[in-house]
Symmetry: C2
Subunit: 324 residues, 2 copies
């Protein structure tokens, strides 16, 4: 059994290899069994503590168990992140555990490459101006993943509710040779961006659809509960709507409220990454079309990324029977 | 996150410390949440492959996730054990994974100490002759655990369907200074034993109750499905019956068939380790009484043992809020 730490995860999951691998995996289906199990414990200080197990089993190939805790009081109590996780990869031919993998690094890489795959298919190939909304742990990975998917990106603006964090992220990215700048005026930045990636905990939309530039692509990462939302109704009505997986629409506030209020219907969701990668639905159809993809994650993406990681770790060419 | 390998598990879980710790844990209840989740994949060559997750969560204290695979064709296909496993221990105050623990070593130690705790309460304090039925991976641990619980044991006989394995085990134990001998005549050995521990995959009972010596204690480890069985009806009718946990009786062939045929009823099960350790039911009441405990395991025992292991690993005194 090997311990694959964060440094090694980032090394193995460079976007130049990971994004095409994820595209290959989407040529097929989900791992045969994938599920999520949620345990909760009430917490006297507020939101409950949560322990989630996401197992995925592709017969003869791999079993992945992703173990995630979300302890909302961690920051205040221990100055620790709310979410902590670890991945266990089991060889599904032998049942033997092959690796325990750093969870945070995996989540950063898989979430950002999921968004990047959407952009690779949906954004304009000549997109130059990226806007990153949010400056949390995931933000630098989203910027790098989008730049790998669209090497045409020339500048990255960063907006964050707490401006100092946007500036710190801009500095970090600048040190890596990226033309990154923090901005104060979110609306102005939205109106100029070719690609907008948003990864916040917002419950009130901050992307105004009216301001969007023709041809823009919007990547929504934040909302994972019915209460959370990043894009307003105008984004939904102006954009061609895609998701990474159809089931995403059943959990995210980007869809649930607008469905209820009749702003859009499920038929307005044009397709997911499976349909896009397999050519069952067309992606962008004109230079002026506005596209949007809601990234909802899911244990199948964890599985694809973990299988790719293991193959690279052992020096094998990536394959998954999910794709065949 | 630490990797606790087999050598370290065995070092930390010496029986002199582990058996009393397990007794302490049984002064209270189960971890607040414990469960088992079973996934199956059909196998063209025979029995299905199984993946089991056993999570246990004691709030503020610990979350244990035991991941077990059982791949019945492993021996023939890969010369690997059928069962493989790994334990993940998460700090339930922070949600951070503290350790990944070798599963095989944990299973050997927790199963054997569970049996030993039963013997410590139920067997005669002057028991001298032990019979070990079965010579699989667990057998040497059962012998050592029973000897730790009953230092009065002077000799150990070993019977196994394949005699050569019994001899190999006797040699191994002899090298450790234990007076161990392989025997051919199972019935004779049964009739002489003060303590019988049986850990086999038998579906046909091999312990004949008629032969039992007055005062004997029978420790049944093998049967974990309705089809498996090690003790015949006479054992059940002659012995005072105990279990490690009441739920054991709902899964094991030691009970299901005899219940159905009216040999015993659930009322004949006098108590479990919780009731015994807490003094709610009496254990052995006379020198001639025959006692039997069915060891069925369970995620609560994994939890207690893992918590004890972590406390010892960090040099802390063992505590668990399960016990209070």
């Amino acid at each position: 059994m090997e311990m694959i730490d964060a440094r090694r995860v980032h090394e193995l999951l460079d976007y130049k290899g990971l994004i095409p691998a994820l595209e290959t995996a989407h040529l097929g289906g989900m791992p045969k069994q994938s599920d999520r199990l949620i345990y909760q414990e009430p917490n006297p200080e507020g939101q409950p503590d949560i322990f989630i197990i996401l197992p995925a089993w592709q017969p003869q190939e791999g079993i992945l168990a992703k173990l995630v805790t979300s302890f909302p009081n961690n920051k205040a109590r221990h100055n620790l992140p709310t979410v902590n996780s670890v991945y266990v990869f089991i060889n599904a031919d032998t049942g033997v555990t092959e690796a325990v993998i750093d969870g945070e690094a995996m989540i950063f890489r898989k979430t950002s490459s999921d968004s990047a795959l959407g952009s690779k298919i949906l954004s304009r190939p000549d997109a130059e101006n990226m806007l990153m909304i949010g400056a949390g742990g995931l933000a630098p990975y989203l910027v790098e993943a989008h730049m790998a998917a669209r090497p045409s990106i020339k500048s990255v603006k960063i907006w964050n509710r707490t401006a100092a964090n946007a500036e710190a992220l801009a500095d970090t990215l600048s040190e890596r040779g990226i033309a990154a700048h923090a901005v104060d005026d979110l609306d102005a930045a939205v109106s100029q961006a070719d690609i907008i990636s948003s990864a916040t905990m917002a419950q009130t939309p901050h992307i105004k659809g009216k301001l969007l530039k023709p041809g823009a692509h919007i990547d929504l990462v934040g909302s994972f509960t019915p209460e959370m939302r990043e894009a307003d109704d105008d984004v939904l009505t102006r954009a061609s709507i895609f998701v990474d997986h159809r089931q995403t629409t059943t959990r995210s506030g980007e869809f649930l409220g607008p469905y209820e209020r009749g702003i859009i219907t499920p038929d307005d969701v044009k397709g997911d990454l499976f349909e896009l990668c397999q050519g069952k639905v067309p992606g962008r159809q004109s230079a002026d079309e506005i596209t949007m993809m809601k990234n909802g994650g899911g244990s199948h993406i964890d599985y694809y990324v973990a299988k790719y990681l293991m193959d690279r770790h052992y020096g094998r060419t990536f394959t998954t029977s999910c794709a065949s």
